[in-house]
């Protein structure tokens, strides 16, 4: 009797567990497939192009070995700059000693901008003259901000 009970319970437990796993696996597979939906791929491509554009513009403004400070006037812009080129810039400490101060200038989309955003460098030239330069070398047409990826 005990053997029969154990066998019946085994069949039930195995069936319930496997059916549940199959059901959830199918759901999981749909979740993975959703990453490849055209809209998701398009958003990811735009996001990727935006940050690559920011990166290229920053490279056009910062020479090798030059120390950088990120303007902290706008917290969102600081995060965008970190995401775009935080991995390679030489951050100055203290920030007042930086050779270049980088900031973002947001405006309407147009030539030379990354979805309307442009990287701007401010340096102090000979005689204490402030020099403002705009990033070049890449552009992404359209109006930002880029589509927000999942948090």
């Amino acid at each position: 009797m005990q053997t029969v009970l154990a066998t019946v319970a085994s069949v039930l437990v195995a069936a319930v567990a496997l059916v549940a796993l199959v059901g959830q696996a199918v759901r999981g597979d749909r979740t993975v497939a959703a990453q490849l939906a055209p809209a998701a791929v398009h958003d990811a491509s735009v996001d990727d192009a935006y940050y690559r554009c920011i990166d290229v513009q920053a490279h056009s403004l910062v020479g090798p070995g030059r120390t950088v400070a990120l303007s902290t006037d706008n917290l969102a812009d600081v995060v965008t700059m970190i995401k775009g080129f935080g991995s390679w810039v030489t951050v100055a400490d203290p920030s007042s000693s930086a050779a270049v101060v980088l900031t973002l200038r947001d405006g309407p989309g147009g030539p030379g901008t990354c979805l309307g955003t442009r990287v701007v460098a401010t340096t102090v030239g000979p005689g204490g003259v402030r020099v403002v330069r705009l990033g070049t070398g890449a552009e992404v047409p359209g109006q930002g901000p880029p589509p927000a990826p999942p948090l």
């Binding site: 319970a9 437990v13 567990a17 796993l21 199959v22 959830q24 490849l36 935080g86």
Partner: protein
């Protein structure tokens, strides 16, 4: 170099760094394949921590640590014997079914992981990935002085840069060896490491089925052929049931698909949540549910360190898992009378805690952003706890299935579970509970606004308990299939008497891993 080619090179380099110590410690098992890159990533994390603590470039530390670990592993093997490789040398029987199940299980798991990574065809880089996980690698490749500036200066605002280093360190190694410094390479490298952690956890299910089958195997002619010298039962003369092995393989493949669904989109967008969650599930699988032998302990060490060096939530969970694994190894008999059983588990646990603590201690010592505590006990713990419970509940519906399944299984199939050699289900539930408590505790005692915090993170921070619960369900499927197999035949006197199976001998990577006690001559 293209991103796919660079990814392959990066994973091969990480695997080359990790394969010797992992293979020596774990033995000839399929799980060495996914554990080797994870071992390399672990070495990269230690290299990043050493580089921060002492100076010298990350890659120099990485190469030095890899060479040192390989030398130590080989010397230890020469001095103390081959360990998990010894069983392979004593091979006498083919155990064809086990070979087939092991090979098929490995192929199924690899194929399921590859299919689950197809999300990589989308060029997604997650928000946190771009802001931290695949941005910070560049810092690890800068000078020591600049690394300190990057981690300290308040102008960079992000406090998460004090998080454990594994994901970023592995990416830094990938960037350095390939010369491709892109966020995309970081994402693809991390995704493959996620797949390795997932494969390691899934292969534990395959091993669970094979181990159960080995323990439930019966002599072909009713009589065991026992070697008079070493008392080992010849595997060739025993017939293992198919059911646990088949269900183990099927469940492993299904768990991969389930886990991919639970972890997406973060499985393929560079976040650190999947790797710590999956590694923690694997650590619980090998450390708390598999046979307590040297090979499984070694796999547990790798996975628990990967979990703890990947993210703060993983660190807390890993520390709890270290304590649970040590407690299981010591066991009731160790507490009662055999104090010698304390030595090895406590030694391993102490070493693991030291490794896990190195990075956060270094963060405090250098005064890194985000290293100071943000915990508080005076900001409405009751309402925060309520928000946490209500926020997490919708994601934990798997518990509605796993709890009753465990209750029924525990009441009716606990004897089968013991005979199959699967660890007590309560250990798995404890592992799930400590993960929930770790994350829930951080949310309740944190200072951030609780509602937006939960809304933006709950789907990621609940990955571990969800995956652990599905793993529990899958193990019950394997145990139940063992019950079906044993229900058709009378209990084997060997396994019935000792509760453990005969020694199983096999060769190479396809041997059953149960390594149960030897049958007395």
């Amino acid at each position: 170099m293209s991103t796919p080619a660079a990814t392959v090179v990066a994973i091969l380099v990480l695997a080359a760094a990790g394969v010797v110590p992992v293979a020596v410690a774990v033995g000839p098992r399929w799980v060495v394949v996914p554990l080797a890159p994870l071992g390399g990533a672990l070495l990269a994390a230690l290299a990043a921590t050493a580089s921060l603590s002492v100076g010298a470039p990350l890659l120099a530390w990485f190469v030095g640590l890899a060479a040192g670990a390989a030398v130590v592993a080989v010397v230890h093997t020469v001095r103390s014997g081959p360990g998990p490789w010894a069983v392979a040398r004593r091979h006498r029987g083919p155990w064809d079914r086990h070979r087939v199940a092991g090979l098929v299980g490995f192929v199924v798991v690899v194929a399921a992981c590859a299919w689950s990574l197809r999300g990589l065809r989308s060029p997604t880089v997650g928000f946190d990935a771009r802001a931290l996980w695949v941005m910070r690698p560049g810092w690890f490749l800068q000078s020591h002085a600049q690394l300190l500036v990057d981690l300290r200066t308040r102008g960079l605002v992000l406090t998460q840069s004090a998080y454990p280093p594994l994901v970023s360190a592995a990416t830094a190694v990938a960037w350095r060896v390939t010369g491709v410094h892109t966020a995309r390479l970081g994402v693809t490298t991390v995704a493959l490491l996620n797949a390795c952690a997932l494969a390691a956890a899934a292969l534990a299910l395959v091993e669970c089925g094979r181990s159960a089958a080995a323990r439930l195997a019966r002599p072909v002619d009713g009589i065991d052929e026992v070697d008079p010298v070493d008392g080992v039962v010849d595997g060739a003369d025993r017939k293992a049931p198919w059911a646990p092995m088949v269900v183990g393989v099927v469940a492993a493949g299904l768990v991969v698909a389930v886990a991919a669904g639970v972890c997406e989109p973060f499985l393929t967008n560079g976040y650190a949540d999947p790797i710590w969650s999956l590694a923690a599930v694997g650590a619980a699988a090998y450390g708390l549910q598999s046979t307590d032998d040297r090979a499984n302990r070694a796999a547990t060490v790798v996975l628990v360190l990967v979990a703890g060096l990947s993210k703060n939530e993983g660190l807390v969970t890993a520390l709890a898992l270290v304590a649970l694994v040590a407690a299981r190894s010591i066991g009731v008999s160790g507490i009662r009378d055999d104090r010698r059983r304390w030595r090895v588990p406590l030694g391993v646990a102490a070493a693991e805690v030291a490794v896990l603590a190195w990075w956060p201690v270094a963060m405090h010592v250098i005064g890194a952003r985000g290293a100071s505590s943000t915990f508080t006990t005076s900001n409405g713990a009751g309402s925060r706890m309520s928000a946490v419970v209500h926020g997490m509940s919708p994601y934990l519906h798997v518990l509605v299935l796993a709890v009753p399944l465990s209750v029924v299984g525990g009441l009716v199939l606990s004897a089968v579970r013991r005979r199959a050699g699967v660890g007590n289900d309560l250990w798995a539930w404890l592992a799930l509970a400590v993960g929930l408590l770790a994350v829930g505790g951080a949310l309740v005692t944190g200072t951030g606004a609780i509602v937006p915090w939960i809304r933006s993170t709950v789907h990621r921070i609940t990955e571990y308990p969800i995956l652990q619960a599905w793993w529990i369900v899958a193990v019950w499927a394997v145990v139940a299939s063992s019950g079906i197999a044993t229900g058709r035949t009378a209990p084997d006197p060997v396994t019935e008497r000792s509760g453990r199976g005969p020694t199983v001998t096999g060769d190479g990577a396809d041997r059953p891993s149960s390594a149960p006690a030897e049958v007395p001559a």
